[in-house]
Subunit: 290 residues, 2 copies
DNA sequence: GCGGTTTACGATGAACGTAACAATA
DNA sequence: TATTGTTACGTTCATCGTAAACCGC
């Protein structure tokens, strides 16, 4: 019995196929076959039912599954608490939404790379919908997005929310939402839908709405006087300081943006777990300073 | 990280030396060195303090110790509950005291070998004192002896006790303990000391006492009319049936013999654990039939 | 010098990848 | 035919044992 065999077994059971497990573990499919065969041989019992298309866990396999989880959990605890993480190398893939990228993400990256000086970071800034998709397909280790990600497999750590304020061009005449276009988040996002509902109900069903996946581009459009919209102060700060945009109150309060640090719960990834904690701390500190 | 490395680490920590661990695991000492070195390399932290004579666990090593125990515990659970034990091979070393050997040991061995048909059994019949010593030096896997063995490392499962009855030769005149020698257990045993105390107090301090490590030999001596003594009925049965010895009541009640199935708790040995349970069951069934 | 650990090195064997095969839908 | 698991086989790399070096009582 080896930890590699147990790992292979767990992935085959989780993903429901030798091939998928092979891909996950960066091995060829026969290698997985061998590992499972060796394990079945040692335990003198079949672990999977190979009935044509699709594997099923046998009774013994089901039993092993919980033990396998326990064992690899302990292995992870060792890596986390016993191993010296200072020398840890590897690649850590972080996804962040633009609001975070423009606010405390630099602080977070600084803190993270201080704790894990040998880890390379791969950063993706995208809209939350895409980050969510990347997380679920294991292309990201940690996502800092508008959450929570409501999947049983995902752990969500709540981050401080961002209040939204309305902005218009500094030289703008008093704003009438019925005639001025509103620009905001990408149409695929939850805040967009909320904003649309709000505008339709309280202003007019025919309000013009622009959307953009880039919040900073949106703010430039606002500065140009082409639209107005609700944004976190963190993003607007620079343009406000330059005197190009100002806050105004259209009498419509948009609920704050709720963010989470989200990662897949299984398999355990202590870099993600620890990264989420570091992110929360960085966010809190940034908030206290702003 | 491999289970072999973890196992090696645990044994080095337990036994306090690479050489002893090597012996325990049937490996050469450099092999242990390699395993520990690899583990220390992977965890990027020293696990032992090598200061001249004697190893000490580092802080990280101490931490790892508990995780290692957990991990190997799970491994053992897998072997016990998932693996098909019917095909299990190996050698199982059982020690039993004579009383048990003469009573339900055959039933136990039959039941045990039915559950584990491929396990070879090495049986030692000896006095409890020696069995205890053998158990503690790992020369026995399971000991059925007058227990319990009061060592923190030993697990004791209580077995049904044996009542003691006094026997003398069938043609014996009424027995006077003041003049007839008493024969009983080896001088190194607990029942011997108890018997001596009893005789000194209630009969005479100068009672003649014979001792023998073989209870059946003792009974032959009784049959020959050379002595009398207290024995379990299980051992006397045959000579009673042959009409060569009879029970009598000297007015001295000797407390029953307390037996236990004892085995070392660490490392876990599920054959021993299970063997103890089977032994208890065999003993109970035998008792119900007698 | 002696008990015990580390280092060096050759040999064995476990496990991988490539490739061919088998089975199922 | 496409997909997926098994079998066969050559190769590579990890790990063992032997032997020598090292090190603190």
């Amino acid at each position: 019995m080896t930890l590699d065999q147990i790992t292979a077994f767990l992935w085959v059971a989780r993903l429901g196929g030798f091939r998928k497990a092979a891909e996950q573990l960066h091995l060829t499919q026969p290698a997985i076959s061998t590992r499972i065969a060796k394990l079945e041989e040692e335990l003198a019992t079949p672990l999977f039912e190979r009935d044509g298309s699709g594997l099923t866990l046998t009774r013994q396999g089901t039993l092993l599954l919980s033990y396998a989880r326990q064992m690899l959990f302990v292995q992870d605890e060792i890596r986390k608490h016993v191993a010296d993480t200072a020398g840890l190398t590897g690649l850590f893939r972080i996804g962040a939404s633009e609001t975070i990228a423009q606010s405390w993400l630099p602080d977070f990256l600084k803190a993270f790379s201080a704790v894990y000086p040998r880890i390379n970071i791969d950063l993706t800034v995208d809209i939350s919908t895409d980050l969510r998709e990347s997380l679920l397909t294991r292309r990201l280790d940690l996502a800092l997005l508008m959450g929570p990600v409501s999947e049983f497999s995902v752990e969500n750590i709540a981050l401080p929310p961002f209040d939204l304020h309305w902005y218009c061009a500094a030289d703008s005449a008093p704003v009438d939402l019925a005639t001025t276009p509103v620009i905001s988040f990408s149409a695929k996002t939850r805040p967009y839908r909320e904003l649309m509902t709000l505008l339709a109900r309280h202003v007019s069903p025919s309000v013009r709405v622009f959307t953009s996946t880039s919040l900073s581009a949106s703010l430039q459009i606002i500065a140009a006087g082409s639209a107005v919209g609700p944004f976190p102060r963190a993003l607007a700060g620079k343009l406000i300081a330059e005197g190009r945009i100002i806050e105004f109150d259209p009498g419509l309060s948009v609920s704050p943006l709720a963010f989470t640090a989200s990662y897949l719960g299984e398999p355990r990834n202590f870099l993600a777990e620890d990264g989420a904690v570091i992110a929360l701390q960085a966010a809190k500190e940034w908030q206290a300073m702003n």
